[in-house]
């Protein structure tokens, strides 16, 4: 049977949790959907060994136990129509109907190709943090953290807490920019506090600005990295490299629903107004997919979207706080802008599309994603271009092509019964 909800919220990170709570306070029947087993999203991911941070725990308990909220964990949205979603979980496929939809499906890391990046042992920076929180063994392992942005510090702190020996943090932005960023933090006291806390947790770990990992070495797994900085080139033996160059909004779901996107540099985010309304009626968006702003703006935008979706205007104070939190996004973008050399790391034989093993040189001569895909299969694999598409856009090759259904590789059973025929009920 198709369940009906007043409001469906996709994503249970800070934005989605806040949206569900705000909407539920107005009496709306809310479905809160997340592909992960636990609520919390990226920043509030449950740590198997250490639990949730206190604030996260409170927000999660409140949202999931609210009598008007139905929590659908380990449930992925694989297709969306106006007023209905196709969901897939371990027990099968299910369709739900909604009157209003809040998209709060966050962002992923920008992972850029360089020689050796396909070796086991090389992950994203936030990725290592996510893996560690779910039990990935780091005790006594030598870890190099690299890439860009404050996420590197959070990743290093998590790795250390899980027993890793963090050899160093290598930030591509130069020291002047990082210092300017640090000096601007007083405007966001919460962030300044977080930063101070992290500094304490990271005592003794070298933090080098203006440096990049050029190469990861190893045969079947990572053994060492070559780091390039103002001090020259340096080879470090290590067991794990965590490298991420910032975040890119997950816009696929919004795009498939026809929501207008806003181009920010080479990546896009979902366009919203002050009430978090997208360009499509009854569809709201909040959090990282509206532009990378961090936890606080995600939470505030989620609240605004939840109130608006339930037909109640958000308080002016909420809107004011959100504008202030968003200014932080701008500071991040300015001070951690990628240096040109990051875009020159990939060599002609470096694999760009990891699903289909396609090198950079195999893509020479193509100026759009569609023709490259048809000729080389680049972007045809399971990730559907989420990794290589963002990378190619960043390298200045071509932007990612539009999404095609389903949003994630879905089981044929889910699609056969649901995608082609909206009126039949799912039988899996």
């Amino acid at each position: 049977m198709t369940e009906r909800y007043d409001i469906a919220v996709v994503g249970a990170g800070p934005a989605g949790l806040a949206a569900a709570l705000a909407a539920a306070t107005h009496g709306a029947r809310v479905a809160l959907i997340d592909a992960q087993a636990h609520a919390g999203g990226q920043v509030w991911r449950k740590d198997v060994a250490h639990g949730w941070p206190r604030r996260a725990q409170a927000a999660i308990t409140q949202a999931l136990h609210h009598p008007h909220v139905t929590w659908l964990a380990q449930t992925q949205v694989v297709h969306a129509d106006p007023h209905s979603l196709l969901l897939e979980s371990a027990v099968g496929a299910q369709r739900i109907d909604y009157a209003a939809l809040v998209l709060a499906n966050g962002a992923r890391e920008l992972l850029l190709p360089f020689p050796g990046w396909t070796l086991p042992g090389v992950t994203g920076a936030g990725a290592l943090q996510a893996l560690a929180k779910q039990g990935w063994p780091l005790q006594g392992r030598r870890v190099v953290i690299a890439g860009s942005g404050p996420l590197l510090l959070a990743a290093a702190a998590t790795a250390r807490r899980h027993g890793a020996h963090v050899l160093g943090i290598y930030e591509q932005a130069d020291a002047a920019n990082v210092q300017r960023f640090a000096r601007s933090l007083w405007r966001w006291p919460q962030k300044a506090m977080q930063a101070a806390l992290l500094r304490g947790q990271l005592a003794g770990i070298p933090y080098r600005c203006g440096s990049v990992v050029r190469t990861a070495h190893g045969d079947s797994a990572l053994r060492a990295v070559t780091v390039e900085s103002a001090r020259g080139s340096e080879r470090l033996d290590c067991d794990q490299l965590a490298v991420g160059y910032g975040l890119v909004p997950n816009t696929e779901l919004a795009q498939s629903l026809g929501c207008r996107l806003r181009q920010q540099g080479v990546h896009a985010s979902v366009e919203v107004d002050a009430m978090q309304r997208s360009s499509v009626a009854h569809i709201y968006a909040a959090g990282e997919q509206c532009g990378i702003g961090g936890r606080d703006s995600a939470w505030l935008e989620g609240s605004i979207a939840g109130h608006a979706a339930a037909g109640a205007p958000a308080a002016a104070s909420l809107l004011r706080q959100q504008r202030h939190a968003r200014a932080f996004a701008q500071a991040l973008e300015t001070h951690f802008a990628l240096q040109p050399r990051v875009r020159t790391l990939a060599q002609p034989d470096t694999l760009i599309c990891r699903c289909e093993d396609i090198s950079l040189q195999a893509l020479d001569g193509y100026s759009d994603a569609r023709s490259a895909k048809l000729a080389t299969r680049c972007g045809m694999g399971a990730c559907q271009g989420r990794i290589c598409g963002a990378a190619l856009a960043e390298l200045g090759r071509f932007p990612r092509s539009g999404t095609r259904p389903p949003l994630f590789p879905a089981r044929l059973a889910s699609l056969g019964d649901n995608l082609s025929d909206n009126h039949r009920e799912s039988s899996v």
Binding site: A37, V48, L111, V122, T123, A130, W136, S220, E356, C383
Partner: protein, 82 residues
């Protein structure tokens, strides 16, 4: 926090792990590679959050499951390099 333990099976070996960890973590504890790429290279998790599909393994007979998105269950059968 000390979690309860449970046993799963990876490539025919019984492994006792803490409750609540991901299948990806369990495979890494054994130090096993996850899958082979179309060109025959070994691959392991990249994104840790369900988007890259580099961590795909067979879980309880179902192929192409993301190990980073799946939490261990007692008696679970995992098969890497599938």
């Amino acid at each position: 926090m000390s979690a309860a333990r449970l046993t799963i099976d990876i490539n025919g070996h019984a492994l006792e792990v803490a409750e609540g960890i991901s299948v990806a973590a369990a495979i890494a504890i054994l130090g096993l590679p996850f899958r082979r790429s179309v060109g025959g290279q070994w691959r392991a998790p990249l994104c840790g959050m369900g988007v890259c599909f580099e961590c795909r393994v067979r879980i309880d007979g179902l192929a192409q499951q993301r190990a980073c998105m799946t939490i261990v269950r007692a008696g679970m059968q995992v098969c890497t390099d599938d």
